[in-house]
C-alpha cells in the first residue's frame, strides 16, 4: 500500500469513528455497563469491522449489505463477548453519564438514564439505534436479524413505555 493510501485509510477510519463513535459507546454500554468496558468493546468491534472492510476492498468475499449496520453488529458482538468475560464484575457505573446534555436539560438526562435501564433489552436496543445512532428500521432489522416491521414495533413500544416511566419520574 502506498503512503498516500495509508493516509487516506487513516482519514477514512477516523471519519467513520467520528461519525458513529459516541453512539457506538452508548450502544455497547447496554451490555458492558461501565464506560471503560464499553470503550474496549468499541475498540475491538471497530478494529474487526475496519479489517474486514479492508479485506473486502482487497477482493475478499463479503456478505455485508449495509456497512453501518455491520459496524454496529461488530461492536454488539464485542460487547457481548466482553460482558460474558467480565460477568462477575458487572456493576452499574452511576457517576459517569452516558449523555451530554445542555445545562437546562440536566434533569432530563438523569431521568432518561434511569428510565432506559428499566426498558426491556430488546426495546432499549432498538431505541438507542434509532434515536442516537440514526439507523433506519431496515438497518436495525439487518443488524438484529429481524424484520424491519418488528424493529418498528419494538421502537413504538419502547417510546410508549419510556413515556410512562418519564411521566412517573417527573410526577415524583
Amino acid at each position: 500500500m502506498s503512503t498516500s493510501g495509508v493516509g487516506e485509510d487513516d482519514q477514512a477510519w477516523r471519519a467513520w469513528l467520528g461519525r458513529h463513535g459516541p453512539a457506538l459507546v452508548l450502544y455497547a454500554r447496554q451490555w458492558c455497563r461501565t464506560r471503560p468496558d464499553s470503550e474496549d468493546a468499541v475498540q475491538d468491534g471497530f478494529v474487526r469491522f475496519w479489517k474486514s472492510r479492508q479485506d473486502a476492498g482487497a477482493g475478499a468475499p463479503s456478505q455485508v449489505r449495509d456497512e453501518t449496520a455491520y459496524l454496529f453488529a461488530c461492536v454488539r458482538t464485542a460487547a457481548l463477548d466482553l460482558a460474558r468475560a467480565a460477568g462477575r464484575r458487572r456493576h452499574h457505573e452511576g457517576n459517569v453519564s452516558a449523555f451530554e446534555a445542555p445545562a437546562d436539560r440536566e434533569d432530563l438526562r438523569e431521568v432518561v438514564e434511569v428510565a432506559l435501564e428499566k426498558l426491556p433489552e430488546e426495546q432499549r436496543e432498538v431505541l438507542v439505534l434509532k434515536i442516537w445512532a440514526g439507523l433506519t428500521f431496515a438497518q436495525i432489522g439487518e443488524l438484529l436479524a429481524i424484520p424491519a416491521n418488528t424493529a418498528s414495533s419494538r421502537y413504538r413500544y419502547a417510546l410508549e413505555r419510556l413515556e410512562a416511566l418519564l411521566a412517573k419520574e417527573f410526577s415524583q
Binding site: D9, D10, W13, R14, L17, G21, P22, A23, L24, V25, L26, R35, E39, V42, Q43, D44, F46, V47, R48, W50, K51, Q54, S97, A98, F99, E100, A101, P102, R105, L108, R109, V112, L127, I131, W132, R156, L159, E160, L162, E163, L166
Partner: protein, 120 residues
C-alpha cells in the same frame, strides 16, 4: 405515532451520547497500524510459553537418549590398527602344519605290522 411520542422523541434526540475518549482513538490507531492484529492476551502468552518450554524439554530428552545410545555402542578400531591387522601375515595354526619326518617315523613305529608290509 402520537403527538406526545413525537415530542418525547425530539426530547430524547436533544441528548447527545458522550464523546469517545482519545484513549480509544489512539488504541484503534495502534491496532490498525499493526495490521489490525489484536494484541496477544495473557492466556495466549502463557500457552505459548508452556509450548516453548515443552518443546525445549523434549529436545533435551531426545539429545540425552541419543548420547546414551552412542556411549553404550562398541568403540570402532582406530584406522592405524586396522592397517596393521591387514598387513601382518596370518600365523598358521599348528594343526595345519605338515608332519615332520620324525613324526612319520614315530607313527610308523607305533603302527601295526601291516604297514611295513604294505610299504615293502
Amino acid at each position: 405515532m402520537t403527538e406526545s411520542s413525537k415530542r418525547l422523541e425530539a426530547e430524547l434526540a436533544s441528548l447527545r451520547p458522550s464523546p469517545l475518549s482519545p484513549r480509544v482513538v489512539d488504541a484503534i490507531a495502534d491496532a490498525l497500524a499493526d495490521g489490525g492484529r489484536a494484541p496477544l492476551r495473557f492466556a495466549d502468552r502463557c500457552l505459548l510459553a508452556v509450548m516453548g518450554a515443552g518443546s525445549l524439554a523434549a529436545c533435551v530428552i531426545v539429545g540425552l537418549i541419543v548420547w546414551q545410545i552412542a556411549g553404550s555402542a562398541p568403540h570402532a578400531m582406530p584406522p592405524q590398527q586396522q592397517m596393521l591387522a591387514v598387513q601382518t601375515p596370518a600365523v598358521p595354526s599348528p594343526v595345519a602344519l605338515p608332519p615332520t619326518i620324525g613324526q612319520y617315523q614315530q607313527a610308523l613305529a607305533r603302527s601295526s605290522d601291516v604297514v611295513p608290509e604294505i610299504l615293502r
